[in-house]
Subunit: 422 residues, 2 copies
Amino acid sequence: MAEPRIYATYWIETAFPLQQAAETMAGEQSTGTFVRVPGETDELREAHAARVEEIVELGEVTAPSLPGSGLPRSGDATRRAARVTLSWPISNMGLSLPNVLAAINGNLSELKAFSGLRLIDVRFPPEFLTRYQGPQFGIEGTRRLAGVFDRPIIGTIIKPSVGLSPEATAEQVRGLIEAGIDFIKDDELQGDGPHCPFNARISAVMRVINDHADRTGKKVMYAANLTGDIDEMLARHDHVVAEGGTCIMASMNSIGLPAMKVLRAHSQLPIHGHRNGWGMLGRSPAIGMSYIAFQKLWRLAGIDHTHVNGIDNKFCESDDSVIASARECLTPMFPAPHKDCRIMPVFSSGQSARQAAPTFAALGSIDCIFAAGGGIMAHPAGPAAGVRALRQAWDAAVAGIPAAEAAGKSPELKAALEAFSG
Amino acid sequence: MAEPRIYATYWIETAFPLQQAAETMAGEQSTGTFVRVPGETDELREAHAARVEEIVELGEVTAPSLPGSGLPRSGDATRRAARVTLSWPISNMGLSLPNVLAAINGNLSELKAFSGLRLIDVRFPPEFLTRYQGPQFGIEGTRRLAGVFDRPIIGTIIKPSVGLSPEATAEQVRGLIEAGIDFIKDDELQGDGPHCPFNARISAVMRVINDHADRTGKKVMYAANLTGDIDEMLARHDHVVAEGGTCIMASMNSIGLPAMKVLRAHSQLPIHGHRNGWGMLGRSPAIGMSYIAFQKLWRLAGIDHTHVNGIDNKFCESDDSVIASARECLTPMFPAPHKDCRIMPVFSSGQSARQAAPTFAALGSIDCIFAAGGGIMAHPAGPAAGVRALRQAWDAAVAGIPAAEAAGKSPELKAALEAFSG
């Protein structure tokens, strides 16, 4: 039986012939050497060389996207873009995400043959599920803990990002709960600073959330940002559990995949994977990696939710890219009977009732956390009206009723659409 | 007494007025919100807002480096580059590298005001040394274990990168040791795959190294690539120690800072910090981060060596950038009496005797690991002559004798300069 393989797809830009450029990539990331050495036998190459699976030319480009690339010594030097897929046998790196990263990224971005090189997708064989646990709660588990089943989970974030005391944070949570919110998250800047220690903050917040749950039966999900060193994260997790919390949050780029694996193995709660820092990898079209590729690494490692930005967001990401990321979260990574590793996409950044219909139309699903800050707090009739307007906007979208028509029967939605007209 | 602060310097490109752009950065990464909220009091801003420390205009630019940026709604929209320094009080994030990352990188790269934004430096207050150990061996400790004191440590790498069995690896090590090498490293692609299990590889390699040390007194340093998940890395470290090894290697981008902290706390050996994957962050001049900034995070977390590429390398990095990185490794991060956290820069990538003189001239130091692959193996008179030529080239450089002149007295150096003429 053929050995399982890992597949990685790249966007490349090069002045070299595409076949040669793709083979350079495969060689650099497996058995290749600049000078052929005695140990590089045919058998070794047969067993361990990365393979060029596909090359799709995407057309000529007029100027190099990035500086520092080289030209062929002779012949045609037309610069082209292409999509290239490589594969590796899993025996090269073992069932190890850190070693997969070294293989699929490694030094590729620095190769002189390329004036652009970006990882756009990666596919794992299901054997990785024997070493990585994948999401523990995923979509269904998150819905169960949040008690929200037939619509998006409506979320928001604590603001200002940093500086509030534990008590002031809890007071803000109280207001948001009274407004009818389903989900609240710490800002990623709020960790465990001395002015707002994690344990004190979570204790204060959970007192408010638990009181409300006792009175009403609705337990709001609070994503507690426990980002830190490993021992700290495990201890903070235990504190959240002890206080009755239902979600933890970690900044993926801050902690790395091995720490996430440890956190996942320890966790009794869904893990909200915050992607801050991804712009460093994702912003340039010519380098880094797509969020399609990025999220798969982290889903395998165990996150249950991740941020995908939002339609018409305040950042630089295009709507197409946002929706591609969100749809990917809802797409199985592995076929049945394997765990599919689907997770909750989290829409955020400048979101309001205005984006409900286009988001539903593009996503084709209500399985998401739809988070708004100003889109709730700045509603002319207050935060409770802001939350209601968001729910009404989604209900209308799902029912196929245009927002403007639905607004005729809902003063909150009408006010939201007017206030957040973009 | 004023609270200690963290400083971060960025290269930015924006069509907004520079002061406004810098304040947007500071706001986004601390107390700012798009809509002013009740909790954002003057006292909170005074205590927790990031501060704009300096703005240095670098001139106008004709076109945006990256897509997706916005323009001011009115007024002048000249696009400019600038260098901006921000600072944060450490109480915002605590003494925590993962939370520092969220603060200094965070969502900055995605902000619409910028068509380029790159972290170029970061400065920590020495308080971080109460939480992070810094390098355990550094330059002096590495020299002591390698037994090389008055010249660069001459190094090389196992090739082909992946595919050799433990026994074939050990045979290659035997040849390199006989050639007089000081330092050998695993390729970053060689981890713990089933065809070359880590423990078997290190046992086979150390048998050769220990035999040679017993006979000659010279113990070659072997950087064993233990990159993996945390439990794996600790167990592999213990195996290296048990076999008498003197160095471990980890791919920094694969493991993350929290895993490095755990590894450093556990390690009895120098940690060779491999930077593969850095091209994703470093290749574009308009996004990501410089290696100056990157290495400081990892030095604080505990690495003892790191790669800086080499002069006239096979990759895309400029010589200026290479030398800036290398000099930074040799520059104290903290003033006395604090630990200075200086580490060994590792030159590699297309290096040979040819680059010794310009490297010494630019670095002004012999404190480095100077690694060559083809520059040793492809020497016309064999690997032993390759190693001798490298040592002779460095001796000549340090003595101020031009390489061509020194080559008159050394056939190995003469042959190397001819063979590796670039």
